[in-house]
Amino acid sequence: MQIEIRGNHFILLTQRAIFWEETQTLLIGDLHLGKITHFRKEGIAIPPNAIDNNFKRLNELVQTTGATRIIFLGDLFHAQYNAEWDLFKTWRTAHHYIEMLIVIGNHDILPVSLFLEADLEVHMNDFEEGDFLFTHHPKVDAISEKFIFAGHVHPVFTTYGKGRQSVRLPCFVIDNHQAIVPSFGVFTGGFQMDLAKDRKIYITTETKVFSVC
């Protein structure tokens, strides 16, 4: 599904990411890499092969969009350093031709040097480009003139139908000044979003993105 913001074109993808056509950039939020290994280190037996799925979907995205740049909207890595970081570095090296940026999220407690070492451009707070601002925490008051892209929330939305039906799915939340992307990681939960004035919600299944309103 394609939407237009400030004259630019953005594709909302079923892999739970946004592709910015004008700059060939993927916007990805809340991967929470390292979370599974972190849990396992603490004796909580999450199946280790779930880790591969994040990378499988990343590969899919890179191949289908042909992106030349990725902006990670924070919470790339969930915990202190563990072996999953090395997997990420391997993946990064295999995609050395793609420019990658990160705006730091609350879970990104790794030393900045590790991000730099993995050839990521690090932005401690926000990253601005043209009319747009990329950050981790959504901004409550739109102080800036710029349109904001954020993560952090892990938004999901429940749709209702006749016969008292309902379905809960990850969603993109687009307000007048801000867009929130769904969380990308396999092992992440969700936060229920509500409809609001001037807000558009797009829910996504594994095959299709729908505009709710």
Binding site: T37, H38, K41, G43, A45, A50, T159, G161, Q165
Partner: protein
């Protein structure tokens, strides 16, 4: 019985107390002193404790007088009780008896309430007899010297075994008993149980698989106490609503009954129910202030203790309670019991009735207060059940891998275990008799490598294998396990505290999240104002005179038991023909006539189906009268089988009498029934698993399993922040584990629990077989009927669909925009 020295002392003791050594107590003493194990079946207040405690003392006295059998010191007797509240009373009775027989026996208590000093004293020197909960017993096994602790143990008594057996705490007890039997092969094990349908099985579960039947006994107390059942009936039946489950419209009649009695217990089925009743009575009858109290599981321990003590001391006229007072010590002043709403099972009803009239020769009387008009039929059914003494079974839990995983960890934290030996030991427990090597190895993998394979080498850390012994070496892992042991999994409780500092109890997180300062709610019988929330504690202040929200707690709704539903089907079919047989039926007549005119009242060889259309869509109501769990299962099966014929989505609702399939499309039910056998038992389990709901239900079951098996860590006491990086909801764990690991036993267990406990598979098969021989009658109705209305207004709904997700969303979005 030849009189041993101890026997004579005991006899004199009974005489000095002016008590009769009852026949069943003598019988139990004989069996015990004969070296047997088994079960004593006796109600509360009958002297069941002495039936075993006295012979234990006789044995001790005889061994003391026999020089060759010099009595040993240290822990000799374990007395397992399900309730901490019972332990004090038990302690008093046991210690007094020992003292009065001039014995210097030490009796101790070990529960979650035992303070650190007593614990460390016990570590140095165990008392001769220890009263303990299943949880605390497991904690003894998590200590490094556990086999030393149990060195001189010769007897274990499990109190209220019927109550423990059907729960995972029962499984916990089974595992501990299996271990104790392996440490002490001569161990004598006795259970004390109220009457249940499956007493023989209860004995088997208690004693394990290998125990020789010839060395066991079931001893029954002869009780011929009569139970009288009386309904509280409004002058006009129209006063009763068609649906509803609070019953407060009958408050005047209820208070009348209370006023005629000395002390009354009023049982409701939910915690919110007690709060509503308390409020209703105090508003209308302010004179009850100070002589009425509340008792439910979410109230602070101190408040509950106070209520129980006040009950003993005859300071209270009325206590409004939930199942929290089902068990426990006798409250002698209680002479009246009122049950509000369906008790769902005859055994529970009798148990509650038994809380009154403890004096010998006095009949127990229980009042039934219906909460809706149809429940009057339950009154007559309950009465019939009581007269015929048709008691329900308590089925034991089988294959609880979560409890077993926790037990393996517990032993690994303690002395460590040899896996082959432990495997054999565990298989001796009734609940694990069918455990196979493959499952066992998965569990070993789960606690050592965190996967089904024993050869994954990553940073997973839990149990290690050192010299063939599985043990935990990390102190952090051990501490964390000790903090998360147990099988009772509660919602994340938020404490409620008055600003003065007094704790009132707990509410659920979901209740607090939408509260603002200034909001008023009713809790612990008080109206309080929300001040602030800080670190899992809500501060409140009293706000008398204001109206407030009602606190709600999530809690499973009990299903109608199979025994009770059989009676209901029969009484209903009979009601139209013999309306004057009982008062309740005569009262119900107008309602039943309305049902008959709008639709019909099914005979026992008929199955009624009603269809009607409302603004909400197309309704199908089916009335098997089999209890809500079976109906849940049937609704899934039917919805799935219909949806295989055509893409359709149903939302389903059910109560104890029937269930509803609601859809946005009309279903020609009669035509479909000619094409497929909707009620067939063929492919039953497959059809359930195929439906989307099975996954949703399993996900919910998984919450408890994840917590018991150690996947969810609640955090160190007072250190919530430290574990923040370790929070994951059980539904997320479920999704990831079922997607990325084949044959995960814990996932499998959650499906199995859905099948066995949630949908009562066995009972559902019986019901489907019965339906196969019934005539199915489909009625098109223009209006909802007395039968269908209560289901229709139920907001708790499940969904079933065979439409593609993408198509459904398209449709919903379209319907949504049409509505604008």
């Amino acid at each position: 019985m030849t009189k041993s020295p101890g026997h004579s002392i005991a006899e004199n003791w009974f005489k000095s107390k002016k008590w009769k050594w009852a026949a069943f107590q003598k019988e139990a003493a004989e069996a015990y002193l004969d070296g047997k194990s088994g079960l004593v079946n006796a109600p509360t207040g009958s002297g069941k404790t002495y039936s075993l405690w006295v012979p234990i003392l006789i044995r001790h006295m005889n061994e003391r007088s026999n020089k060759e059998l010099k009595a040993k010191r240290g822990l000799q007797v374990l007395w397992i009780t399900p309730l901490r509240a019972l332990s004090k009373d038990l302690f008093r009775n046991m210690e007094t008896a020992a003292l009065e027989m001039n014995l210097t026996w030490r009796v101790g208590i070990r529960t979650g309430d035992t303070n650190t000093k007593d614990r460390s004293d016990q570590k140095k020197q165990m008392p001769d007899a220890l009263i303990i909960t299943p949880e605390s017993l497991h904690i003894l096994f998590a200590q490094k010297n556990s086999s030393e602790t149990f060195k001189n143990l010769h007897t274990v008594v499990v109190d209220e075994w019927h109550e423990l057996m059907g729960s995972k705490r029962g499984t916990q007890t089974e595992l501990a008993l299996a271990r104790l039997r392996s440490l002490k092969p001569d161990l004598q094990t006795w259970g004390i149980s109220a009457t249940i349908g499956n007493l023989e099985e209860a004995k088997h579960v208690l004693l394990g698989m290998k125990f020789p039947v010839s060395k066991s006994a079931v001893i029954k107390a002869n009780t011929d106490k009569k139970i009288l059942v009386e309904s509280i009936i409004p002058p006009r039946v129209e006063t009763l609503p068609w649906s509803g489950y609070m019953g407060t419209r009958l408050v005047d009649q209820v208070v009348e009954v209370v006023n005629q009695s000395k002390t009354t217990l009023l049982f409701t089925n939910t915690r919110s129910g007690t709060e509503i009743w308390y409020r209703t009575i105090i508003d209308k009858y302010p004179e009850f202030a100070g002589i009425m109290a509340l008792h439910h599981a979410s109230l602070d321990r101190e408040i509950r203790d106070w209520v129980e003590e006040a009950l003993h001391d005859e300071r209270l006229k009325l206590v409004i309670c939930t199942a929290s007072l089902d068990l426990g010590v006798d409250f002698r002043p209680v002479d009246t019991v009122i049950q509000v709403g369906s008790p769902k099972s005859i055994a529970r009803f009798i148990q509650r009735a038994g809380r009154s009239g403890h004096r010998p020769g006095v009949d127990s009387k229980i009042y039934f207060c219906p909460t809706n008009a149809l429940e009057l039929i339950e009154a007559v059914s309950l009465r019939e059940g009581v007269v015929k003494n048709m008691l329900e079974d308590r089925p034991p839990i089988a294959h609880a891998f979560d409890v077993l995983a926790q037990w393996m960890m517990t032993l690994a934290v303690g002395e460590g275990f040899d896996e082959a030996q432990l495997f054999e030991e565990v298989c001796d427990a009734y609940g694990y008799q069918y455990l196979n090597r493959q499952e066992w190895e998965w569990l070993l993998g789960y606690i050592t490598t965190g996967s089904s394979s024993l050869q994954v080498y990553d940073e997973y850390k839990k149990v290690e294998r050192v010299d063939g012994i599985y043990k935990v070496t990390s102190r952090r892992v051990a501490l964390r396990h000790r903090l998360s042991m147990g099988t009772i999994v509660s919602e994340t409780g938020i404490k409620v505290k008055l600003q003065s500092g007094k704790y009132l109890g707990t509410v659920e997180e979901s209740f607090v999240t939408w509260m603002k300062p200034g909001d008023v709610f009713t809790f612990a019988g008080m109206t309080v104002e929300f001040v602030r929330i800080h670190e899992m504690t809500v501060s409140v202040k009293k706000a008398e005179g204001k109206k407030g929200f009602l606190v709600r707690w999530a809690g499973g709704r009990m299903p109608l038991s199979s025994q009770l539903s059989t009676f209901i089907r029969e009484r209903l079919a009979d009601a139209i023909e013999n309306p004057h047989k009982e008062l309740e039926l005569a009262k119900m007549r107008p309602l039943l006539e309305l049902q008959a005119s709008r639709s019909m009242i099914p005979k026992t060889d008929q199955l009624l189906i009603e269809q009607c259309e409302t603004r909400e869509g197309y309704h199908i109501f089916i009335f098997p009268f089999e209890g809500r769990l079976v109906h849940e299962g049937m609704s899934i099966i039917l919805a799935y089988r219909i949806s295989k014929l055509t893409p359709i989505t149903f939302s389903v609702a059910m109560n104890d009498y029937g269930f509803e399939l609601l859809s946005d499309q009309y279903v020609d039910f009669e035509k479909i029934m000619n094409e497929v056998d909707l009620f067939s038992t063929k492919h039953l389990v497959d059809d359930i698993y195929q439906s989307v709901n099975a996954t949703e239900m399993a996900k919910r079951k998984f919450r408890e399993i994840a917590a018991i098996s150690g996947l969810m860590f609640q955090g160190y006491p007072g250190k919530n922040m430290k574990t923040r990086q370790l929070q994951a909801s059980s539904s997320l764990l479920f999704t990831v584990m079922s997607k990325y690991e084949d044959n995960n036993l814990l996932i499998k267990q959650s499906y199995q629990e859905v099948l066995t406990y949630q949908l009562e598979e066995v009972r559902m098969r019986q019901a489907l077989d019965r339906i196969a021989n019934q005539k199915i009658i489909v009625k098109q109705t223009r209006k909802p009927t007395p039968f269908s209305f209560p289901i229709m207004v139920d907001r708790l709904r499940e969904q079933l669909t065979s439409e593609k997700l993408d198509d459904r969303i398209q449709k919903m979005i379209k319907q949504y925009s049409n509505a604008d």
